[in-house]
């Protein structure tokens, strides 16, 4: 079985996540797009683990999941605080700091 389709799929997912981060306004959606990028990396890691026939990539995927979970904890806490203060989760509204 060829591995190319999986790598292509992971690249497509990564690109969707990347474009999403750059274009979406809502902090939660931006954050979901970052998670999509991380999961695209997981797919690539697992595919390469199969190509090389060792387990490093699969172990790394587990670590990425744990790190992503920790990031969710911190990220949602920050987004929650901003939302409660400003009544909006739009990343465009938070614009006091500029130039």
């Amino acid at each position: 079985m060829s591995e190319t389709p999986f790598i292509v799929l992971s690249a497509i997912l990564f690109t969707i996540g990347c474009v999403g981060v750059l274009t979406r306004r809502n902090a939660i959606v931006v954050f979901m797009c970052v998670e999509l990028m991380l999961n695209a990396s997981n797919l690539a890691l697992i595919t390469f683990a199969r190509v090389h026939g060792n387990l490093d990539g699969q172990v790394a995927a587990f670590f990425v999941m744990v790190v992503a979970a920790a990031e969710v904890v911190v990220g949602l806490a920050i987004i929650m605080t901003i939302f409660r203060t400003r009544r909006s989760a739009s990343v465009d509204d938070a614009s006091l700091l500029k130039y």
Binding site: L45, N54, D56, V64, V74, I79, T81
Partner: protein, 537 residues
């Protein structure tokens, strides 16, 4: 034999060099103890417990670092010495020890800045209750009851642990985990200012969003490099790169994506956009800590990743770093000219410094080319990081004492006439600014000298010319602040200089002394940097 028995016979318990890793273990142990203190100690005693614990922890880790550093064994001839620990995950070598020492000393200074209570009238300069909304009854109540978040100390210790692990990691996975361990506590700390909380929360949001975005690039880069080399270990990657394993596209893509993640952390253009916003919005103690220690740790990791793992592909990544270095110097120096906020100006100055450091990084004078009395670019960058770290921490510490009714007076117009109000503070700040500008007899000059001469010896003269030109541009905006402090009349009531407790005074004194001492007698620290030798492979 059953299959379970076969597996059990094959299984080898991993060996873990506890003594070599003791500095890391001490810091993480202190961080976890700090969490327990937060859970079990009564509120009244937490501040003292946490502050003492943090100081003792950092001092303990520093002692452990010195002991480990004195007992490193030579490895593979040359100037490299040290050992690979934790089953190949962590490299404890000369540069690691040097960076650990630098990060720990700067953290020790920053802990004192965190623990300052007199400037805010008996409470920490962090939000009394982060969950209370700004401007509400709950916030006023938290303020009258004198609540404070002593959690900042364990959070800081976790960040310090991450900063020590980051430059010492010897495989990509450890590096990624370390990156997150150092970043996540910093995202939270940025949002915890007591005053100007909207700015602080906004800084936390921006730092978090962009940080998470850049770590997405970092991990995809790891995946591609793993796909190329079939291993996460730096030695294996280096072997694959030298042997031209095939599939160069994967390698180049991986290097580029990893560089994006790294350049974000060091604050190099065009990935610098978060730096001014976060440095301005974050509590000043956190900014000082972040500006100094994160940059040291991130440059350590950058050097190890690119020299050890991708050293064989030097010709592929050098042009990219040239472009980034020049862009960073231009953006940092030019945009700093138009700043009206002192924290923001220092942020752009730190971007410019990242550019100067990248000049040393890419100039790449190797061990083999070094004449007698010369140092390699690795050692020059390490020395520059020390000089930069002390000056930066002290400069931000000075920012915390210049205040008005609304807290810190960070707008530059409030600083005019500071020389008349407080000659000592203005004088110290002037010396620190001259140090950053790189005037002779200050640490900035010796640091720049070390970095630029190695880059020149490495053949990167166009970069060095650019760097010198933009040092001049940078000197202009530093001097502008000095002129403002001494030759302008105060606007309105003028600035007031609050008297800090002994803690902040120590920070400013140490930074000031280091700025002058490293400028006049740089020898000992340069010797230390030279003794750090090279990375082990």
């Amino acid at each position: 034999m059953s299959s379970a028995a076969v597996l059990a016979a094959e299984f080898q318990a991993p060996s873990f060099e506890y003594s070599l890793l003791s500095p890391l273990l001490v810091i993480f142990g202190v961080a976890i103890t700090g969490v327990l203190v937060e859970a079990f100690a009564p509120r009244g005693s937490r501040y003292l417990l946490q502050a003492v614990l943090a100081v003792l922890g950092v001092v303990g880790a520093l002692v452990a670092t010195v002991i480990v550093g004195l007992n490193l064994v030579s490895r593979g001839g040359g100037t490299a010495h040290g050992s690979i620990a934790a089953e190949g995950a962590i490299a404890v070598d000369g540069p690691s020890i040097f960076i650990w020492g630098t990060v720990l000393v700067l953290s020790l200074v920053s802990v004192l800045l965190f623990a300052e209570r007199r400037l805010e009238g008996g409470v920490l300069s962090f939000a009394g209750q982060a969950a209370a909304l700004p401007g509400t009854e709950a916030e006023r109540e938290a303020s009258t009851r004198g609540l404070e978040h002593t959690e900042v100390f364990p959070l800081m210790m976790f960040a310090v642990g991450g900063m020590m692990l980051f430059p010492a990691s010897n495989d990509l996975l450890t590096m990624f985990v370390a990156l997150e361990v150092l970043s996540l506590p910093l995202y939270l700390l940025c949002g915890l200012a007591r005053r100007r909380r909207l700015l602080s929360q906004e800084a936390a949001l921006k730092y978090f969003m962009l940080g998470a975005f850049s770590s997405g690039f970092f991990i995809y880069g790891i995946a591609l490099v793993y796909g190329y080399a079939g291993s996460m270990n730096f030695a294996a990657i280096s072997a694959a790169v030298s042997g031209r394993a095939g599939g160069e596209g994967l390698l180049l893509g991986g290097i580029a994506l990893l560089a994006v993640g790294m350049m974000f952390k060091v604050g190099a253009a065009p990935f610098h956009a978060w730096t001014p916003d976060v440095y301005q919005g974050a509590p000043t103690a956190v900014t000082a800590f972040m500006a100094a220690c994160t940059k040291v740790a991130a440059f350590g990791a950058l050097l190890r990743l690119f020299y050890v793992a991708f050293g064989g592909a030097r010709w592929d990544w050098t042009p990219m770093v040239w472009v980034i270095a020049i862009l960073t110097m231009v953006v940092g120096s030019v945009l700093a000219l138009s700043q009206t906020d002192v924290k923001r100006m220092l942020a752009y100055s730190s971007i410019a410094h990242a550019g100067f450091l990248l000049t040393g990084f890419v100039g790449a004078q190797q061990v083999a080319d070094v004449g007698i009395g010369e140092i390699t670019s690795l050692q020059a960058v390490l020395f520059y990081l020390v000089t930069y770290g002390f000056t930066t921490v002290a400069a931000f510490a000075v920012v915390t004492v210049v205040r008005d009714a609304g807290g810190e007076a960070t707008h530059l117009s409030r600083w005019s006439g500071l020389g008349k109000e407080s000659p000592v503070v203005a004088g110290v700040f002037a010396v620190l600014l001259l140090g950053m500008a790189g005037i002779p007899l200050t640490s900035g000059f010796t640091g720049k000298w070390a970095v630029f001469t190695t880059a020149l010896a490495g053949g990167a003269w166009p970069l060095v010319v650019t760097a010198v030109l933009f040092s001049v541009v940078a000197a202009f905006f530093y001097v502008r602040v000095i002129v403002l402090m001494y030759f302008s009349d105060p606007v309105g009531e003028g600035p007031t200089v609050a008297t800090p407790s002994i803690l902040t005074t120590i920070v400013i004194a140490v930074g000031f002394a280091a700025t002058l001492a490293l400028g006049v007698v740089p020898g000992p620290v340069l010797d230390l940097a030279a003794a750090a030798g090279e990375f082990i492979r």
